[in-house]
């Protein structure tokens, strides 16, 4: 286990290094820069500003300067949000995105797996068809359509929940969490349903039935592992994506998370912020993939030796 962790952590750092390098140079290939706005700036002032941010140095030197900063956990200043460092921005927004994201992953996993199993056990029943309809809606209708509809109905018409914003009450969290989890509920329930149906056809399930292991025990004690393994594999990358926030959700519900920076930073050519977000997301991806692999190894002994 320790050897596995050291190896995966080493691989992760290498991956992150490659990601940082690639992003740094590809980002600079894009035309424009942080100060190329409509407003005319005199060349003297521009040169001055660029010197402040070391943008006048050769690209390689800038890269080395950045990497040297990163290894000391200095991610540089944001160019767009003056007076704030990249670390300040991410640390202040992350708790909101993590909270919404954590609950969305929980809700999506529990609901998705439950719906999937019920659908597989009672195929072509009302439950199965309802789960299918939810899945189709969740996958086919974009969040930016569903979320405003939910606001109109639950917040404005029924007045059960606030329209948006971050407050002290859990009630502020309900709509964003539901909206963020819906597509994942849809995907996870389909994944679980297919895997459960396939698992129930396995020979070892027949063996269990032949041993006189009755209905419910076969499902929970024998078939469940096979049915959730694909979900575990899916949850690794999905969790990283969900907990780092969603620009759509955060914009619609006016939440101060970091999701919006994914798009804004790139559009503004806020180079250090783009890099910071890339490292954060890449780090989460690597960590959650390792966690998913550990969980998979715990569930499936055949994976452990790989």
């Amino acid at each position: 286990m320790l050897r596995f962790l050291t190896k995966r952590a080493g691989d992760g750092i290498l991956t992150l290094a490659a990601l940082v390098t690639l992003t740094f140079f590809v980002m600079r290939l894009a035309p424009g820069g942080p100060f190329s706005s409509n407003r005319k700036i005199s060349p003297d002032i521009l040169a001055n500003i660029e010197a402040t941010y070391h943008l006048d140095e050769p690209l390689l030197q800038q890269f080395l300067r950045y990497v040297w900063g990163v290894v000391r956990f200095d991610f540089g200043p944001s160019i767009r949000f003056r007076d704030y460092s990249v670390a300040d921005i991410l640390i202040s927004g992350l708790p909101y995105s993590l909270t919404i994201g954590f609950w969305a992953v929980m809700v999506a996993t529990v609901t998705g797996v439950t719906l999937g199993i019920l659908g597989a056990l009672k195929r072509n029943s009302i439950i199965d068809y309802s789960a299918g309809v939810i899945a189709v809606i969740g996958i086919a209708v974009p969040i930016f359509v569903l979320a405003p509809l939910m606001q109109v109905y639950f917040a404005l018409t029924l007045r059960w929940l606030p329209v948006g914003g971050w407050g002290d009450s859990w009630r502020n969290l309900v709509l964003p969490i539901v909206a963020l989890s819906l597509p994942n509920i849809a995907y996870i329930s389909r994944l679980t349903r297919a895997a459960m149906i396939e698992t129930l056809r396995e020979n070892y399930i027949r063996t269990a039935v032949a041993k006189g292991i009755g209905g419910r025990r076969v499902v929970w004690n024998h078939a469940l592992t096979g049915a959730v393994l694909p979900v575990v594999a899916y949850l690794g990358p999905a969790t990283a994506a969900i907990i780092t926030g969603s620009i759509v959700i955060e914009t619609i519900f006016a939440l101060p998370g970091i999701g919006r920076h994914f798009v804004d930073a790139a559009l503004n050519r806020d180079y250090p912020l783009v890099m910071g977000i890339t490292i954060l997301y890449g780090g989460f991806l690597i960590v959650f993939n390792i966690l998913a692999d550990i969980l998979r190894g715990w569930l499936d002994p055949r994976v452990r030796n790989e």
Binding site: E202, N203, Y204, R206, T207, A208, V209, A210, K211, G212, I213, G214, G215, R217, N221, H222, T225, G226, L299, D300, P301, R302
Partner: protein
């Protein structure tokens, strides 16, 4: 049917039919089959692929595929297996009737320790504690000659070879000391060198426990070695039935003759080609009005294609379904 002995049988199967509903119509896999198994007896059911031999076992165990329908009766220790509630059937499967399958590689759960898979039946059906059940499991693994059983009980199936896994399956099936064991071609998927070992272990343990066996196979050598009585099945019907030794010495039905003739023998003089039965085995389709073997039979007469031959006695304890053999008894 006075021809079949009615005395103290453990399993009494009467008019068992299995039909499958397929998109192209209904297919009869087993057609009005009747037979008995005495306590401790080893009955072999032989036949080519598609003769319905495995479906007999699956129907008794309640394991038919979803599109399968069964009719008839199968009294096991006095109760009809085919008319039982699922709960009662679970109990019978748990304590009195076990089954081992053709493919040991996929018949054990890859996610559970071998010892736990064995112990589960004892815990659920015999109320043993985890510890006692675990100890019983190790003892049984030892008896199927798995070396270092106590340690191996904590291993997972993928750490076992095919032959070892089939031993685990045998241990699991016999752990509850069943009165009847259904064995569905348990050696087909194994190396020839291991087949004999598995058969020996199975036969020895079953004799010790007093378990009766229905052994389904197409391997006549195994049947000759193991079985007291043999049923030869073709097209879902019994062609011939009788004690193993006389049946092998002098088969009465043309199909049984052909089957024996087609078995290669190492000791026999070399022939340029392996013997076969002409034609292809029946695979489903509509039932023929006459004898199912008639299209391939080299001795058929007109009546064979119009009237199904009844199963009748040809010698004490021997039955055959052929229009040609009835009169000789």
């Amino acid at each position: 049917m006075p021809l079949i002995p009615m005395t103290d049988s453990l399993l009494r199967v009467r008019d068992l039919s299995v039909r499958f509903r397929l998109p192209e119509g209904e297919v009869t896999a087993v057609d009005h089959v009747s037979f008995d198994v005495a306590p401790g007896e080893v009955l072999g059911i032989v036949g080519e692929s598609g003769s319905g031999k495995s479906q007999i076992l699956f129907s008794l165990m309640g394991l038919l595929a979803g599109n399968g329908r069964v009719s008839g009766a199968a009294h096991f220790a006095g109760q009809d297996l085919l008319a039982m509630s699922p709960r009662a059937l679970d109990h019978v499967r748990g304590v009195a009737m076990s089954m081992i399958f053709q493919d040991p590689m996929t018949s054990l759960s890859p996610y559970k320790r071998v010892g736990d898979q064995l112990a589960e039946g004892l815990i659920v059906h015999k109320g043993l504690s985890r510890r006692d059940a675990g100890r019983e499991a190790v003892r049984m693994l030892d008896r199927v000659r798995i070396p270092d059983a106590a340690r191996r009980a904590r291993s997972y199936p993928h750490e076992f070879s095919g032959g070892m896994r089939q031993r685990v399956m045998i241990a699991m099936a016999l752990l509850v000391k069943p009165r009847l064991l259904l064995a569905d071609e348990p050696t087909t998927a194994l190396d020839v060198t291991i087949q004999a070992q598995i058969i020996d272990i199975l036969a020895e343990l079953a004799r010790e426990i007093g378990t009766a066996i229905i052994f389904v196979t197409h391997d006549l050598g195994v049947v000759a070695r193991l079985c007291d009585r043999v049923i030869v099945l073709y097209g879902g019907r019994i062609m011939e039935e009788g004690p193993a030794a006389p049946l092998f010495a002098a088969p009465a039905h043309p199909y049984a003759k052909g089957l024996l003739h087609a078995t290669p023998r190492i000791a026999a003089p070399l022939t340029p080609r392996l013997e076969t039965i002409a034609g292809a085995p029946r695979a489903g389709g509509a039932m023929l009005p006459g004898c199912p073997f008639a299209p391939r039979c080299d001795q058929r007469i007109d009546i064979c294609q119009t009237t199904p031959p009844p199963l009748k006695a040809i010698a004490p304890g021997r039955l055959a379904a052929c229009h040609l053999t009835g009169e000789t008894a």
